[in-house]
């Protein structure tokens, strides 16, 4: 109780530092800018923050960080918005949101989808900040228990749990997943430095990362799909333009559970360095589908299919602040830039930060809360405005999406070869869809494939080639047991279905 009182005093003084009119203005700028870069494919919060770095030299650190927090949370929501409205996620962590978000929008419920996304983002972000405040030191100890074997088992579990979400044909889902893993192997191998499947083309050395894959497979893929007249509803403009904002009571309840589950899952995924928002969103969606009483309805527009991933990716954003603040370890591209920002102010995040600059840390935590509240306050009233985007003729809308996508890919390294890569991936996505292969597992393979591979090889280097290490360590053994159990259960279900 005593420590709680201390935290309470600290945080209220933190709010005292953070909640000045000037800081609120910077927070608002952050949220708007974040939402904007979230909407644009290829540009993410990391880019936005590093662009703002030189402008923030003259600012008070709290003002800068309240803005950065706004950008981080705003970008997560901005990505969801385009995912729902145009089926083209602005950042890869919102790819999952397209599964149910866009069908909702198509049936005239874009407002509902945006509403559940924005509240999910708020719940995820706020809860993550709360956990950060209360439990950061303890959480750090948990994250340190995760070594290569634990990561491997967890990522394998995620892959197996989620691989089937895109479709019901197991063979085709597997094919897509392996395709993604194969694509992810392109580039220089981290463990040995050899270049793999690059055919000696230097442009392929750095590989095809999540951002390029997200732009190519989803944004460009969807645009080509629509522009080639595959989507009859787009073509004939039958997409309903009445946008009901509200949700039915039962949907509020279903969303509520999805928000909570997504938040918890996302937060823990965020704490683990290198894991991040995309994986969190995929896993949250997978869990929601597994637990649902009507799993077959997923993909046709259910609110929890939007609520879960959106709360998960915002919670992951908050979770990644834990290793950053408590250990000085950045777990994502965005926190890596934030680390630089800290150092610019002469602060060294790490175990001593709480002791040495307590005022600032509590101000920062308070500013994360404020950024979150601003996110809702700014974006809730303009949901209706955004749904107007659907009134733009499909031809113009999607050709603009292509322009933004190509420019976004180009902006990553300033090379047109990346623009070529996303176009190729877009064509690939089109072909897969036409032959009714699910596209999402390809992205999943690209995200999880390298993690699984690297962690597996690291583990075996550590154990000198002994596979038993996976079973000797309790956490990894636990994850592997869950994988085994889920196989057994699905096998039993199948045999029961056959006998009846």
């Amino acid at each position: 109780m005593d420590s709680l009182t201390i935290i309470f005093t600290n945080i209220s003084s933190g709010f005292g530092v953070a909640a000045t009119p000037e800081n609120l203005m910077f927070g608002m700028i952050g949220v708007l800018l974040g939402t904007a870069v979230g909407v644009l494919p290829g540009l993410g919060p990391a880019v936005a923050i590093s662009l703002l770095l030189p402008l923030t030299f003259g600012l008070d650190p709290i003002a800068a960080f309240i803005m950065f927090g706004g950008i981080y949370y705003g970008a997560m929501y901005g990505g969801a918005m385009t995912a729902i409205l145009v089926n083209t996620p602005g950042c890869s962590s919102s790819a999952v949101t397209t599964f149910d978000g866009h069908p909702l929008a198509k049936s005239g419920r874009a407002g509902t989808a945006l509403l559940t996304a924005i509240i999910g983002s708020f719940v995820g972000g706020t809860f993550a900040t709360l956990m950060l405040m209360l439990l950061a030191p303890a959480l750090v100890e948990i994250s340190l228990l995760f070594g290569p074997p634990e990561y491997f088992a967890l990522m394998l579990l995620a892959l197996i749990m989620v691989a089937t979400i895109g479709g019901n044909n197991l063979g085709k889902s597997l094919f897509s997943t392996f395709l993604g893993i194969g694509i992810a192997m392109i580039g220089i191998d981290m463990q040995t430095g050899v270049s793999r499947i690059t055919f000696g083309i230097p442009e392929l050395y750095s590989g095809i990362n999540i951002v390029l894959a997200g732009i190519g497979l989803f944004a460009i893929g969807e645009s080509i799909w629509t522009l080639s007249g595959q989507d009859k509803s787009q073509q004939t403009q039958t997409i309903s333009q009445t946008t009901r904002l509200g949700m039915a009571t039962v949907e509020w309840i279903r969303s509520g559970f999805a928000w909570l589950r997504g938040t918890v899952l996302g937060f823990f995924a965020g704490i683990l360095p290198g894991s991040g928002g995309t994986i969190a969103a995929f896993m949250a969606y997978g869990v929601e589908k597994k637990l649902s009483k009507q799993p077959h309805k997923f993909g046709s527009g259910v609110v929890e299919g939007v609520a879960a991933p959106e709360s998960a990716n915002n919670a992951a954003a908050g979770g990644s602040m834990v290793p950053l603040l408590a250990l000085g370890i950045p777990g994502s591209a965005t926190t890596a830039v934030m680390l630089v920002a800290f150092q610019m102010y002469g602060l060294q995040p790490g175990p001593l930060l709480f002791q040495n600059s307590g005022d600032l840390v509590w101000g920062l935590i308070a500013s994360l809360y404020i950024a979150n509240i601003l996110l809702v306050v700014i974006n809730l009233p303009i949901i209706g405005l955004w749904t107007k985007l659907l009134r733009i003729p499909a031809g113009l809308l999607y050709s603009s999406v292509i322009v933004f996508s190509i420019l976004g890919a180009y902006s990553l390294k300033g090379s047109l070869s990346d623009a070529f890569i996303v176009v190729i991936l877009g064509v690939l996505a089109f072909c897969l869809r036409k032959l009714s292969f699910p596209v999402a597992p390809v992205l999943l393979g690209i995200v999880l494939g390298p993690l699984i591979e690297q962690e597996f090889r690291r583990t075996l280097s550590i154990s000198s080639g002994d596979l038993m290490i996976f079973l000797e360590r309790p956490i990894s053994a636990g994850f592997l047991a869950i994988i085994l159990l889920s196989f057994v259960i699905s096998l039993m279900k199948q045999t029961r279905r056959k006998t009846t």
Binding site: I181, I188, T192, G331, A333, A336, V340, L407, S461
Partner: protein, 467 residues
């Protein structure tokens, strides 16, 4: 001046294009040419103590945001800005990829002779150019100044049985396989340091058990969790972890105890390894002597400033300032030494170090998986008689795909050779036509407006120069 032209230019180009007459296009080109040449000409004539920059100087960071190179670039930007050393602003852009080779080849080939381009570089880039047989190397650039050096430090978990460097190195020498090293990616500064150490200690490189992590942070986390025996990283990256009793730092790669009097050096326990991860700035090749002189002066002033001194101290960086020809000689020497380590450790061909699972294991799994699931799908489709799509279906879907792909490829080629501003207004109506939209003029107008807005926003606010 430059900023104004940057805003006006796109307006001008597009306005002219709208009229679509050859004459107007030519005049626009003339105007464009004038505007491009003007600032340069003016600055050349106005002052004459050598060369002065007339537009922002761009510092390319050859890695993604965060990390040592990024820090150097951004802190240099800050020092020059805060001390008002240049008449123009300094912009920092990140061009990550392939250990910096992407940025290097861009500097050498695309920005050849451009005095407004600087690039951050360092030890890791030398390693990368050797390992990946890069077409270009640092000798192709114009060396400006080496700025900092960072010694490598090795640490163990706080509860490790090893308490001093001699003990630890004796264990490594006795049974190298039993010591698991954790550090940055293969071929980087951390990895090459371990190989150099092994060479000086007479340890067989094939017995080094080195585990690569994404960046220093993850390796440090693995060390604190006791996943690896020794962590190797730049001295500054250990941050406050020593005071927080998370790790024990046992050794540092300097000759004397310069960074921290409590940490032993390899040199003093009889291992002849002095090694620093240097970071520097280079410029594009074939710039004039005056331009080179200006850039060296600028960086020298920045380095001598109070701001820079503070930055060095705060980041635990060692000043290792070296300019011009001496720096060029250093680059050549460094390359030789690195080449030797890379060859000895067999890097580039897969490495000689210990690895339980090779680099081609997972690609093979993916390949076999694709093959098997492909066969499965084909068989089940054949059984259902759905192996081939109906002919009409093919025509309905793949013909439009072909058209759109062709348009996009033309667009990309246009981007490369003509420029964003000219081809984008054409792309929009061309794509919209695919859906049967026949309002070409309207679509074209939308394209023009969009192009204009994008160019303004991306170039002025997002710092992305459109192709």
């Amino acid at each position: 001046m430059y900023n104004i032209t940057r805003i006006i230019l796109p307006l001008l180009r597009v306005n002219q294009l709208k009229k679509q007459t050859l004459k107007n296009v030519t005049t626009s080109f003339c105007a464009l040419l004038m505007l491009c040449v003007c600032p340069q000409a003016m600055s050349n004539s106005s002052k004459n103590p050598g060369w002065q920059p007339a537009r922002p100087i761009m510092v390319t960071v050859p890695s993604n945001p965060g990390g040592g190179w990024d820090q150097l670039g951004r802190f240099m930007q800050r020092a020059i800005g805060q001390e008002k050393l240049a008449p123009v602003s300094i912009e920092v852009v990140n061009r990550g990829g392939a250990g910096g080779i992407i940025a290097l080849s861009e500097l050498v080939s695309r920005y050849n002779g451009d005095p407004y381009k600087l690039m951050v570089t360092g030890f890791g880039m030398t390693g990368a150019t050797i390992m990946h047989n890069s077409e270009f190397d640092l000798a192709d650039t114009t060396p400006i100044a080496r700025l900092t050096s960072e010694y490598q430090a090795i640490g163990v978990p706080f509860n490790s049985p090893y308490n001093n460097l001699e003990q630890l190195m004796a264990a490594f020498k006795k049974s190298p396989e039993s010591i698991v090293w954790g550090g940055g990616s293969a071929g980087g500064a951390d990895h090459l340091f371990v190989n150099l150490l092994a060479e000086k200690m007479g340890v067989d490189p094939s017995k080094i058990n080195y585990v690569a992590f994404t960046g220093g942070g993850e390796a440090t986390a693995a060390l604190m969790g006791g996943q690896v025996t020794i962590g190797v990283s730049g001295y500054s990256e250990w941050g406050g972890l020593v005071e927080a009793k998370r790790v024990k730092l046992l050794g540092v790669s300097s000759q004397e105890r310069v960074v921290n009097p409590n940490i032993a050096t390899f040199h003093e326990i009889g291992i002849d390894v002095v090694y620093a991860n240097w970071r520097a700035l280079v410029a594009a090749p074939n710039i004039s002597e005056e331009q080179k002189h200006y850039l060296i002066e600028l960086i020298t002033h920045a380095r001598n400033s109070q701001t820079w001194r503070q930055i060095l101290k705060r980041n635990n960086w060692q000043d290792s300032f070296l300019v011009g020809d001496e720096f060029a000689r250093f680059i050549a020497d460094d390359k030789q030494q690195t080449q030797r380590i890379v060859e000895r450790s067999g890097l580039g061909e897969g490495g000689k170090g210990y690895a339980a699972v090779g680099p081609y294991f997972f690609p093979s799994i993916a390949g076999v998986g694709l093959l098997l699931s492909g066969i499965w799908i084909a068989i089940s489709a054949y059984r259902r008689g759905e192996l081939m799509l109906p002919r009409s279906e093919w025509q309905a879907s793949f013909l439009p795909l072909l058209k759109i792909t062709a348009i996009l490829v033309c667009y990309l080629i246009g981007l490369r050779w003509i420029g964003f501003i000219f081809v984008t207004p054409l792309l929009i109506p061309a794509l919209a036509m695919q859906l049967g939209s026949s309002k070409h003029a309207q679509n074209f107008a939308v394209g023009v407006v969009l192009t204009l807005v994008i160019t303004l926003v991306f170039e002025n606010f997002l710092n992305v120069l459109v192709p």
